[in-house]
Symmetry: C2
Subunit: 405 residues, 2 copies
Amino acid sequence: MINKIEITDKRFDLVKGAGSDAIHKDPQYSYAVTQLSEGDKTGTGLAFTLGAGNDLVCKAAQFYADTLKGKGIEELMSDFGSTFRSLSNEQQFRWLGPHKGVVHLGLASVTNACYDLWAKKRGVPLWKLLIDLSSEEIVNTLDLSYLEDVMTKEEAIELLKNQADQKTVRNGILDKGYPGYDTSVGWFNYDDEKVRENCKKAIANGFTAMKLKVGSADPKRDVRRANIVREVAGEEVKVMLDANQQWTLPQAISICNELKHMNPFWVEEPTHPDDILAHQTLAKKIAPVKLALGEHVPNRIIFKNYLQTGCTGFAQVDAVRVGGVSEFITISLLCKKFNVPVVPHVGDMGQLHQHLVLFNHIAMGHEALFLEHIPHLKQYFLNPIKIEKGVYITPQEPGSSCDLK
Amino acid sequence: MINKIEITDKRFDLVKGAGSDAIHKDPQYSYAVTQLSEGDKTGTGLAFTLGAGNDLVCKAAQFYADTLKGKGIEELMSDFGSTFRSLSNEQQFRWLGPHKGVVHLGLASVTNACYDLWAKKRGVPLWKLLIDLSSEEIVNTLDLSYLEDVMTKEEAIELLKNQADQKTVRNGILDKGYPGYDTSVGWFNYDDEKVRENCKKAIANGFTAMKLKVGSADPKRDVRRANIVREVAGEEVKVMLDANQQWTLPQAISICNELKHMNPFWVEEPTHPDDILAHQTLAKKIAPVKLALGEHVPNRIIFKNYLQTGCTGFAQVDAVRVGGVSEFITISLLCKKFNVPVVPHVGDMGQLHQHLVLFNHIAMGHEALFLEHIPHLKQYFLNPIKIEKGVYITPQEPGSSCDLK
């Protein structure tokens, strides 16, 4: 049973310019780290922040983690959906969300530690634990409340069962490796020359997809830089543009109609992440250009609304933003039902998500499109992700690869 | 200039059963209190929570309040919209929302302290300060970003200007007093007999509107209790039913269709506050019964979406949940544009909102419908609200009536 709980506030300085975007000029990548120990195994869970306030998330994580003391991890995970539901609805703490902001980030950290501990106890990588579970066992780890109008528990099980016979075929990805894309070619503060150089490097490193930060006060800067990336990358490479919520709806419509000439694979976070109807309007106005969204969407209910409006080209759910692995899987099931690809935002730098996209592909039948790659914290992880020729090498160590040195 | 900042974590125990609803079985009404001093005047601002985590909101308030040290309150308020915008988008802290949860509650506390200090410096009650400001001065205190698709700054000023010539007519409310409604007749944990007694008392006290908590596991309990209230209150009294998010969408459709027979004035918070599309579906299915919503809606952008869907019968924006008085006014302007009445939820127990509804009615032309009344914290306020014959007596002391003893 869980007999030791430790919460740690970890903050890392980045080299100048790295991580910058239209809204976040000078982030400090940080984790609220939960560690839960049972016997000689310690599960590590992360929630991601940009520095200030990481201590608040730690306090929220402590609040949730303390309730797990004395529970056995196997028993806990056999019905984790109930635990998730009761923790996320704790009757006083719930007021601080519900299911969003600091408290939900704290819950993510604790939830992720539970999954990590579970996999370590079984001595397998998280992707293997998850793909070997039965459909019922998976769904027992989920809280499907407030989704009844689009997906019942029975439908969720059915959806997974229908994918089971193709699991062995899709297992091939484990040897091939999951494709990555390079986010770091065009951080907002990088000058044109650095963007050009980085594109060349990305291609030399085998990437076939990459991302540029847009959302400048001067739209001409966005267009110029987007054209640079397209020019260096060529027509075959997928280029994504990320505005990080910087535009108003009228601005987004106008600028996206200029940017569409360089054929972006998607436009990401064009405006405020709460503005579902603005995304719906924008998606119609700029079709066939597709929207990617979800980095700041905190829970399954808002994702449900985004999917229902039909504006979501790509769902960028992040397991260190929503309530951890459990809600990540719930949202992935919703996306599968609505036929929308899941391309996670990686606040975890891909450490955890490399496991989750393998599960999504193999057990849920999601397309193995590509996973974001951000290298800036590599040196701090015990088992950093390995990427070769633009492809994530399948991790083999037990757990979810989230242990920090 | 602001030379002293104090943040206090205040928690109050309630008598057994008071404050209980379908979700919150045992709340502890609490305030994260911000105090900002300039010279001999101290402004007090509140954010409301249910106990656990109130310390997190205090920490967030401290983060924002510290940035105001050395600023003069008059200068600050002459362009408070810019300050609100820059604080709520602080580039690291923003990740923890944005514009929701713990950080936004912290901002509410600080914003409210600014308005209170402003009114105290001028030696007038907040309602008077606000109704005497010009349309431009009001709009300068607001952050209208991400609303450009429905309301520009110019339109907001125009909307207020169009109401200016009727101000003196509507001033009559100051003498008559603003009507109240009684929320405390039917808390969830009260038994049938207590509900019956409380209804009689409410009517004897002059109330013509009252609220019952529903959302029981057994819908028959809801129907039985709703019928009791209707029976005691008679046909003329307005009876509101509040489910506090307890129902799934399918449940809400079914139960509301039973409850409509007792002719509720509104059904409040039927399901999850993030589920805009569920509210839209429900509103259509149970018309002409109207929905009241907003107690847990954290910001102007989500209110905009709710208004755009047409499902909002009554907007229950709460100035101690959204980013304080500034965003309350912004949302009230949106509601006016969409022709939806504002009937605040009163996490402040009506202390602050008695000022704001007077402003909304007199300066913005909102109907003076009624304001929620909850008496449970009366003894802790320096100038508690006064209610006589079911009507709020207009407060005359300088400030926003939020000082605690």
